[in-house]
């Protein structure tokens, strides 16, 4: 193939300071040859190949439900109960281990959780969805009935409004990318259009809002503007990544409001009440609101802001030997498509555009990458996403500007990872 070795490492290849290589290398020739990057091109030597046992005897039997390799048993959701034992068991979070995954789809067993009163064990034949209020005909649907409707399939993320809350704290918390930003998951959801069901019930002209409610013990309930449903993209998901939704994600059904605060994507959905005004539930007043410095609070801030995070290198994904690495991460926006992701290796002094797909999906995760040469230099890695509305991911300082201390919701500030000369990585505020 093309010998890239002879290509000089000119300004075109150095995309930004501290070792960032242009994404054009990824588009054009694949990886630049180490020689071109001025790295040692001495090759290491492999040992003689032997025939392992598993190549010499038949393997295990068929499995009725496949599991990850036992060698991957550390790829799990870190869990975080939010109350002492016996006080609020089942109210807590578990994080998608972002730094241990690739691509953009979150496996079902690793999709983050936030429950306000545990996971109900719902028997599907006893579950009902009621649609009532300002409608001509209040209706009740069985799961069986819903499964007979035309299905919509769409890939989108669901992000808890409290995602990245650890970066709201005064001191940077030493946690992994997943433990900070992993209250997000991205899946292909399949289900029934909610507008379709509302039409069947016959929505009254005075209808302006819906109240969605779960069938768990917390009966999570949220007011939703009807615009998100009629002529919007809301649907009731019955399947996640091709299989029926897992209990912790709302089995047998959850509401999906692409791009909007996770808690509005009500799990274990049992009721939609059509109303004329928001009902101001606990989780849209006491919680999921943002107190400003002036004492006023922002309410109904539904859309999740444009955001990105480098998942490798990151804590737990430290560089080993010096040489060429791929900086890789995830970007998303509740407002639509991600149009640009920039990466910095020098704490934001210079930026290079990362490689993203030509067609990025709206309100779904986008993977970005960029080659980086690490020669034992200390570095501060950051990523900054821009979406189709032109919104740019803010610095932590800019994000915090309007808010009172300790505001935990809608934190979408730029993440900075400090890489030390020994390759250790820590969370830093810049």
């Amino acid at each position: 193939m093309t010998s890239t070795k002879s290509l000089p490492l000119g300004s075109e290849e150095r995309a930004a300071g501290n070792g960032l290589i242009s994404r054009r290398w990824l588009l054009r020739t694949g990886l630049p040859a180490v020689g071109a990057l001025g790295l040692s091109s001495e090759m290491s030597r492999a040992e003689e190949l032997r025939v392992p046992d598993w190549s010499s005897t038949p393997g295990l039997d068929l499995t009725s439900y496949g599991q990850p390799s036992p060698f991957e048993n550390e790829v799990v959701r870190p869990t975080l109960p939010l109350f002492p034992e016996g006080i609020g068991d089942g109210s807590g979070v578990s994080f998608t281990p972002l730094e241990k995954l690739a691509g953009t789809i979150t496996p079902n067993g690793l999709f983050f959780e936030r429950h306000h009163s545990g996971i109900p064990e719902i028997a599907p034949e006893e579950h009902r969805l009621a649609i009532h209020g300002l409608v001509e005909r209040p209706l009740v649907f069985t799961v069986e009935a819903l499964l007979r409707y035309p299905m919509v399939t769409r890939t989108c993320f669901i992000e808890c409004a409290g995602n990245s809350l650890f970066n709201s704290m005064d001191e940077p918390q030493q946690r992994t990318a997943g433990e900070i930003h992993g209250l997000i998951g991205n899946a292909e959801w399949t289900g029934v259009s909610l507008a379709h069901l509302l039409n069947e019930a016959g929505v009254s002209p005075s209808a302006k809002w819906l109240v969605a409610e779960g069938g768990d013990a917390a009966k999570m309930s949220r007011s939703i503007p009807i615009e998100k449903v009629i002529d919007g993209d809301a649907f009731i998901a019955l399947y996640q990544n091709g299989e029926r939704i897992r209990p912790e994600q709302g089995y047998p059904m959850r509401l999906v409001l692409p791009g909007w605060q996770g808690s509005m994507n009500v799990k274990w959905l049992r009721r939609i009440k059509v109303v004329s005004a928001p009902v101001h539930t606990k989780d849209e007043t006491s919680k999921y609101t943002l107190l400003q410095k002036d004492g006023k609070s922002r309410q109904f801030t539904y859309e999740m802001g444009v955001k990105s995070v480098i998942t490798s290198p990151s804590p737990g994904r430290e560089p080993g030997a010096q040489g060429l690495y791929q900086i890789s991460g995830l970007a998303w926006s509740g407002a639509g498509r991600v149009t640009k992701v920039e990466v910095s290796a020098d704490g934001g002094s210079s930026w290079a555009e990362a490689l993203i797909p030509d067609q990025t999906p709206a309100r779904a995760l986008t993977r970005f990458q960029l080659p980086w040469v690490w020669q034992g230099q200390s570095a501060t890695l950051m990523s900054r996403a821009t979406d189709e509305t032109g919104a740019v991911q803010p610095t932590r300082e800019a994000w915090y500007e309007p808010y009172a201390p300790n505001q935990l919701f809608h934190q979408n500030a730029i993440q900075a990872w400090a890489v030390s000369s020994s390759g250790g990585i820590s969370n830093v505020y810049v």
């Binding site: 006080i87 209706l139 069947e200 409610e213 917390a218 009966k219 539930t281 309410q299 109904f300």
Partner: protein, 179 residues
């Protein structure tokens, strides 16, 4: 099979299909009366729509509180492991602000709605409607928003003016202009 027979079959299929999808596309929902929905219809609006009959006072509420709530939320609504529900009024502009039912919640009706749907944590729905009114009255009086003797019911509760009633700016559909 003859052509005419095939044609007939096609016609038959087309007719039944048209019949099946006439009117609303699927119509697989079952009609239900609002009274059959009553046990599920627990949403309460700020105007009090949805509040049940019954009543309770702070004095009655203290008993409920000590039996059902104080272990997690503190003896007088403060200092418990599940978070303070009392205090902090007037602190919202301070860096050390304290958000509680009293200092932060804009509507008293939300308290009824939430306690009835989700508390006490291990037995939601176990309180009688009167007990919910009473414990709501207790929390409002501990926050010094209503007097000890005030009775809360479907009429009086929505009339309670919460200290932070004007504290919220709606960001839907776009940010409300601040005054």
């Amino acid at each position: 099979m003859s052509m005419s027979k095939l044609g007939l079959m096609a016609l038959w299929t087309a007719t039944t299909f048209t019949l099946a999808i006439s009117g609303n596309a699927q119509d697989l929902g079952q009609v239900v009366s609002e009274s059959d929905l009553a046990k599920w219809d627990i949403s309460i609006g700020p105007d009090g729509v949805g509040l049940p009959a019954g009543s309770g006072s702070a004095a009655e509420g203290e008993t409920v509180w000590l039996e059902q709530c104080s272990a997690c939320h503190g003896e007088k609504g403060k200092g418990g492991p599940a978070g303070d529900l009392v205090g902090g009024i007037g602190t919202l502009t301070r860096p050390d602000h304290v958000k509680t039912v009293g200092s932060f919640w804009p509507y008293s009706t939300t308290l009824y709605d939430y306690v009835r749907r989700a508390m006490p944590y291990y037995a939601p729905g176990s309180l009688a409607d009167d007990e919910v009114y009473a414990v709501v009255a207790y929390l409002l009086s501990q926050n010094e928003i209503i007097s000890d003797s005030a009775v809360m019911d479907a009429t009086s509760l929505p009339e309670v003016e919460m200290p932070n009633a004007d504290g919220f700016i709606s960001y839907w559909p776009s940010p409300e202009t601040e005054n």
